[in-house]
Subunit: 206 residues, 2 copies
Amino acid sequence: MKLNDRGLLIVISGPSGVGKGTVRKALFAREKHNLEYSVSMTTRKPREGEVDGIDYYFVNRDEFQQRINDGKLLEYAEFVGNYYGTPIDYVENRLVAGKEVVLEIEVQGAMQVREKMPDAVFIFIVPPSKRALRDRITKRATESEEIINQRMEKAEREFNMAHKYDYIVVNDTVENAADRIMAIIRAEHAKTERSIHRYMQMLEVE
Amino acid sequence: MKLNDRGLLIVISGPSGVGKGTVRKALFAREKHNLEYSVSMTTRKPREGEVDGIDYYFVNRDEFQQRINDGKLLEYAEFVGNYYGTPIDYVENRLVAGKEVVLEIEVQGAMQVREKMPDAVFIFIVPPSKRALRDRITKRATESEEIINQRMEKAEREFNMAHKYDYIVVNDTVENAADRIMAIIRAEHAKTERSIHRYMQMLEVE
């Protein structure tokens, strides 16, 4: 029995290379969950096998620009000439349906969401140590030492954004990190500010 | 791996008859936990089988009064001529040792704790409905209808204290309520304000 029926918007972010995507996949692989992944919108062309509405909402540049102008994106950014963003109407619709909507986004995007949806839950995933992050980036990358160093520098700048988040979750193991996020979701629903309204209604019934 | 090594002070409270004690016992019956129950101090005489330091710290009235005067009690109250209270030094000692210290106390006491330890976690246990609370009080009580009504009235006054707590936990089933409290403890440790200090230290290590 939940006192808060509305779903939560869960923003999972963190420095580059920390394993946000892996943690997110571990969450969705759980047997019982009420999570829904927020599909992004993009102006880039679909790749082989990508399905509209599942991998991305594929739109043209005019449509995307219109959404920006109308304030209909929770956050957006441009990468190598293409727009990527989160449509606000879809998110709102799923929250009302009681789903916990999960956004897995970069630090810059997360700060935009904070402005539009201050009651979202902001989780910053961090590595257990700098060394662990370097190992992770090195293992993943096929690139040169120089590229690895550039990525580490980017990650180090992003490390300092932690204080802007509600929670810091250590990705020591993927399952531990996922457990912590599930606990955060459960605890957030029990927060007085989210649950007192339903609780007061309950008291009115004899 | 926890970013916050210090234990949390968990204050479990709620309206009379809601089952605070049952929920607390269910928490301590869990296989893996890091909880410690805060033993109260009292001026009442030990009953048969009660052990000093386990059931209560038994002290005389002068000692208790001295502790009040010295501000060495987190909270206290007088019931039928006897003092009951929570010694602050014991609690502090266990928190530093990394234990989650659990206080199960009445609403009045909880508000005193809030003043002395604002960073404690305040959980308000509520029944799933008024009807459920009445059933509970009726089942437990051997008393008359009048006493039951008095208890319900007391509970109804206490219902309104919910907004002073951090979390509202519904005691629909004891295990559900205990699950929610464990999730709250886990989430609270991940809160940025509690974990950023250790996180920043971690970043200093290469």
